[in-house]
Symmetry: D2
């Protein structure tokens, strides 16, 4: 990165927003946080106080109107993303936006178009692409290590379900949780999905079922080539956050397992015990959150396309919407019909 400091404003100081602010301030040489905005000013102040030189504001306009700010990180609630992207684009800021851009495909398209018109970069926060293990798998597929992909398998199980109140407004398991996995399916196989079939149940918490959602699901994707992906999702894996992928092809198979806090085993009369996987997504994906922002900063400095585009965000939403429809209609859904 050039020695010039890139000045970033963070909009939304929730858990992820604070993480992004600290990563920008401490993990990325050449990047500084100029401001943190949150309608809850106290949250903005707390986040800003951890970043040398950052000020706290309640109104995101104060960030967008600041001519010294080069780029914004949007980590506010999903329903504000599309409008903030359009405003930031109009203000000439480069944009990193948390996933999903919006639950409505039309609004996603609008946000993308606004960035194209303004000539600003738009990167979507699919951080898992930057996980060292998953990136190693995708790079291997690209290099032909497994030949032509035939089967892709994505295991994505949360350690603990979110609060029921959150579930109700989340857009449902497919748009909220599996959206990462739909992107991963495209990223790993490096080809497009043409058909989606999903099935699911509320096995963990009947209240999730009563709220019209599922907590356990398997989605089956067909790629254009005839290759097939499966995604299995659960809202609760008691043994920890279970995040694995596997790409099987004509010449071999790349498989990425979970990470554990240590490499220690205890052997005793009961058997051989190992750590459970890293339990919390902020630990599991610690490096990926830094790496996605590093790539964002780099693409601004180098003036290259962002590694995860608005179109990637749109296509993941499309797959999630197809899965949702498949679950309701109990039949496979062609993606082009969504």
């Amino acid at each position: 990165m050039s020695s010039r400091t890139l000045s970033v404003g963070v909009i939304g100081a929730g858990r992820i927003g604070r993480l992004h602010a600290e990563n920008l301030a401490f993990q990325l040489p050449g990047v500084s946080v100029a401001a943190v905005a949150d309608v809850r000013l106290a949250a903005a102040e707390e986040a800003a106080s951890a970043c040398p030189g950052a000020r706290a504001v309640a109104d995101p306009r104060a960030v967008l109107d600041d001519p010294r700010i080069d780029a914004v990180v949007i980590s506010s609630s999903t329903d504000t993303h599309a409008a903030l992207i359009e405003q930031a684009a109009a203000a000439g800021k480069h944009i990193f936006c948390e996933k999903p851009i919006d639950l409505d495909a039309g609004r996603v398209r609008g946000a993308i178009a606004a960035c194209e018109r303004a000539g600003v970069k738009l990167q979507v926060g699919f951080n898992r692409r930057f996980d060292p293990s998953f990136k190693r798998v995708a790079d291997g597929v690209r290099r032909g290590e497994v030949g032509a992909p035939q089967l892709v398998r994505i295991t994505s199980r949360d350690a603990q379900p979110p609060p029921l109140d959150y579930v109700k407004i989340s857009g449902g398991l497919f748009l909220d949780m599996a959206i990462h996995d739909f992107d991963m399916a495209r990223y790993l196989a490096q080809e497009e999905v043409v058909e989606v079939f999903a099935t699911g149940s509320a096995l963990i918490d009947p209240d999730i079922g009563a709220a019209g959602d599922v907590d356990t699901a398997v989605t089956l994707l067909r790629y254009r080539s005839g290759a097939i992906a499966t995604i299995d999702n659960s809202r609760q894996a008691v043994y920890g956050y279970d995040q694995r992928v596997e790409v099987f092809g004509s010449r071999g198979c790349l498989t990425a397992g979970n990470s554990t806090p240590t490499q220690v085993s205890l052997w005793n009369e009961s058997g051989q015990q190992h750590d459970r996987p890293l339990f919390f997504f902020l630990e599991r994906y610690r490096d990926s959150y830094v790496a996605e922002l590093r790539a964002f900063a780099q693409c601004i400095v180098d003036d290259t396309p962002p590694p995860v585009t608005g179109r990637d965000g749109l296509l993941a939403v499309n797959l999630a919407l197809a899965a949702k429809r498949s679950l309701t209609q109990r039949r496979p859904i062609a993606v082009e019909d969504v």
Copy 2:
């Protein structure tokens, strides 16, 4: 087992028949092979010569009519199974029959009924239930180690595709190869499947596609409880025979990996290298082939029900037929409609 010798006739002296004959003769104290029958007499003679005291015959009737023989192992071609079961039952022999009993559910039902009428035992050769790792998983599920099953995952990939001529008469991937996996899905979750959705492609060999079959498939099963199983099948895994299962439930997850010939790793500048999985099904399932016959002999001696019944054979065929129909009709199929 009691000290009394159980006398067994083997019908069909192909690869599996010879294996059964040798296992009966050498691995099971208290069991002897009295005769081996095969329409190709030379094959019968070769198999019989390896078993002390066994005679070779061309006509299976010579086995069925021999009053000193207690039980038969039927390992002839699939199209002969149902008729041989009926004849053996009429002759009062206990029956161990290779899977599948028949590709037609009606004929399977007929064979089962014949055994019930005759009061003879009928065990179907789902040997994988006797694999130490898979049995350990099923036993753990039964003991509640994972709580209520929510997701079952079965990986079943052959190392090498069979000859195309065989593929054409095999009944297709679902009835020929995945039949074991359909049984495994019932065995692991210990509940019944109500709906099947399958998708597949011919990605390995276009001639398999031209013959109307697929070589790569994923089948999604819904159990009565709402739990879900996935089966992924491939006719060719270049890294070896890939046979894994996983049962994920409310209290944990049991997972069974592949076996390797040794426990050795080579660490060098290229990384850490391990053996590929046992390549050949006769090696991989060596212990299970002995154990299923031991259980068969034991159930005769103890006069208890066989551990794998004709009904198990029937239900696996039903699931395979449902998968086949789902593939053709591109929609989920209710098992009760098959």
Copy 3:
């Protein structure tokens, strides 16, 4: 192996003798057990009854005098080995003898010389050389996979200590238990040891210390090339029989881990649990016991040198004696001084 049957007499029908008899009778086509001898005739009868066509005798002379017997397996108590070898050699029988040949190096030399004079084969029962994992490591070293060996590490921990009465007459940990490991050190590095330093303690059972023995020991060996081996021994590993080796060299490292009964893991709130290693040496080394007898039979049929010679037996005893002296004298011992 040729179709001609090799006729073997087993002398000594204890635990290992019975195992050898059954392996000869059932696992080795072309080999039969003609007789089993044991001074406790009931033990001989029990072992013989499991082998088709074998007779039981009390006096080993009945075996040695039987002209139809080609070879003997000597698995009687250690103090009888040397004399039986000399008698069997005089009777023109090929000989497989359990380790150690004798606790006295002079008597070992005498037994070897008797076999050489008689022109009969003498194989010593270092079965671990035939373990698939350890053989894979040794083969890899021979092929140069690790370059020049620099460090060899042998972990050899029993699951449970033998009875104290046995410990007292066993010759001590080095001659009784570590003798296998001394042979392994020579086998893996494929070069000779010139110096031995041993240290040990009675940490598990003070009565073992009171009996003048140790139950925990580390032995350090220097090879002629300057490469170094460590052997660590324990009479009690509560997590199971721990048998691992590692050869580290200029180009890499080969490492062999333990075997477990299954490939299953249970993941739950406590972590990830795996089986403990195979607990009992007869399970752990099941394949190796068959393979060493197969190799013995083969070297007779082919008239080639046995894969483990009397000299191998002698050199292992020498290393054990050097270790014993080092422990007492608390200094490194040159092997040529033993």
Copy 4:
């Protein structure tokens, strides 16, 4: 940590000094770097420029005389450690000093005494105690997870040998490289070593042998209880930095393996390939370098004893000297004789 900022001066801006400076500046909230000193002023300037608010000086006195500085990190060359400790103590600064304090035990004692007289804290840079895996093992031993320790095994192999010029002035393999392992042996077993026996060879580079040093060594330690430790050292493991420990005791065994960059395996016709271990010590021990400084800062803030004391530094040097003498004299050395 209290909100008050702890002000630290770093003396010595080599590779480790720069790492410490950056960790203090960016990874430890509540800590700041006030100054970096190095006789090579350019090195000091480079390190200081990366730390907000730090100034660069050539003379360490400028650090020691600065009343606003609370503590110093000494990462200059080993021969300067003892004098700098004495000066820093006299100036009332708390001290974190890289290992070893000195190659001469008398000078180490002098430095420790100076800190005691001045009432300042002295922590020695045995960072490996703060590695999450090794700390987990030590904590488990302390909690009794393995019962009474009986065998400790430390594998410590560098990926690449240092330059020969460095080897010549390093004090030799035991004082330079194995010093960490001697500390680890005390840390893991939590008891003192009474006797040392070492053997070694120059197998990797004959020039190392010509320089009077070894590049391959095994050291055997006896603890007061009779428990035994082995340390195996190599200057070159071509497969990467190999850092493993194992503590075997009466109730079980704790074992810590290597870390790899990813959790990915590639399965293909050649077998199953995994990453080699993290190759470079700065990567392998990244977290431990942060954690040791966090603990140092914490013990100052809390006014508690440092987790690694000057005495720990002294005892590790004693063990290294005993090993060196044992290698020369070819006999076990009592630690109290050093």
